[in-house]
Amino acid sequence: MKKNNLTFYLLLAPVLLWLISLIVLPHIDLFVSSFQFENDDGDMVYSFANYLAFFEDKIYWLTFVKTAFYSIAITALAFAITFPVAFYLSKVVSLKYSGFMTLLLLIPIWVGELVTIYGWMILLSDNGVINQFLMYIGIIKTPINMLYTNFSMTIGLVYMSMLFMIVPIMSALDSLDDSIIEAASDLGASKWTIFTQIIIPYAMPGIASGSIIVFMLIIGDYVAPNILGGKSSLWFTEQIYNEFLATFNWNEGAAFGFMLLFLSSLIIWLALKLSGQKLERVGS
């Protein structure tokens, strides 16, 4: 091992530099500055004032709670919508088409969130494609107000995150040998039994890592809630953006950021504990 030492340190140095200067130090700074507060004399002092501001103003913690519950619900919705698709692509569709269909899934992600959310804005607006189409075929007389509601925000969040649910579930299902399902079927297992006893347990690591990534993307997203959600559906990230880019109260923004980080870490930790998964496996 001795002669390998130099190589080891050559490998270690850039990784340490990356992790310490861009991950560890910034988060320490975030944590420290969330406790700094400019008092009436203009001096920076350490206090809990930034966190107190969060609890004193109803809109902050209401938005916080709403964001948490919506994120969990939308993650569940994304799972419900995409699980059949993941199953279809890895087990049902003929192999001839599965490559092409999987690739099609990736296109919206590569195109980027801004463009796809902008597309939904055009689709959902009052004189947008969906309203015009419904009026054209005579189902409705006046446009339905869909844009700038929780509904449009939910569509946007599901759309931008769902691929990250499908891919991990697909890769978990791909390793499930078809002959196991065949064997169960031969032995007379019902579809419900096969589904709950074989498919779901087998897909569980994929479901867990997909849900965690999707949840994190949703709770930390700004574009979909801001462009599609409008005033009636505030998202907690929007409060952080306001603190940093509109009112320039960075310390309070840091406190809000830390609250969000704490919330998302807590929920992910709980999800890992409940599903018996490990973070190390989420990455793979």
């Binding site: 130099l6 939904w120 399902i181 709770i219 700004y222 973070l279």
Partner: protein, 299 residues
Amino acid sequence: MACTKIKWTKVRKGWFMIRSLPNSTIYKITFRIYISLFYIFLIMPLLTVAILAFNDSNFISLPWNGFTLDWFYINTEERVGLLADENLILSIWTSLQTGFLVAILSTIVGTIAALLFEQENFRFKGLLYFLALSPLVIPGVILGISILISSTIAGNYIETNFGVDIEWLRPSFWLVVIGQFSFGATYVMLLVSARLKKFDRALEEAALSLRASRLQAIWYVTIPYLKPAIIGAFVVAFLISFSNFNTTIFLAGSDPTLPIDLYSRIKFSSTPVLNAVSFLIVTVITLFAVFSLVINRKK
């Protein structure tokens, strides 16, 4: 035997489920309808913006007023097309440069991290690996604000103590590159690690026994083996950078990347030139996807 027969008929008449088993027609049709609806949902926003890029109208949405190419090149008082819009071209150029630099940096450090975590054993390895994965579970907003805060603190410290103003520690082109690199490297590490796991270390040992140094073995044996994954990871890092908004918004200075520029246009001054840009991006990505499919087929 009779028993087996009955069960097979039951399966044939039944419903489930995978390619190799017979499926009922209703099961197949329901599934196909659902999948078709899903793909319509998937394609609709992209198709809509792409088509509306050719709408002869001053508004981003319907009604359809006929075909025009105005929004791609024209430069009049009323309409400024994509090629005539200097700010837009500039932000596309900024995004391309950023993406390229982020991809290079992330690929180098991400690959090194993959080698380190897959092949070496050392104290605190678990902790470091956890940190390297953490950008997956830290919201982009948080990465953005924490890097903004710490670079500002560092910049202020250097300015008061040494009297030097370091520009790239303020929101700027380089700070965006640094910020996007902080999570780009994680994705590269994961993609390269996946291939490195399948690597037969006997090959490296063979090189070592032929008196290659460890670095030579990595450079001449391991890296060539990893090449496909490294190229793939480079592309992924570029695309992640090109479309990032959440982290970039805090770190961008006076030269915004394309997503930042698009965002402010969507919010404050949307014209159909947005559709033209969207059309361009959708087309390039689709061609790229088809290209990668063809390459994979050949293999």
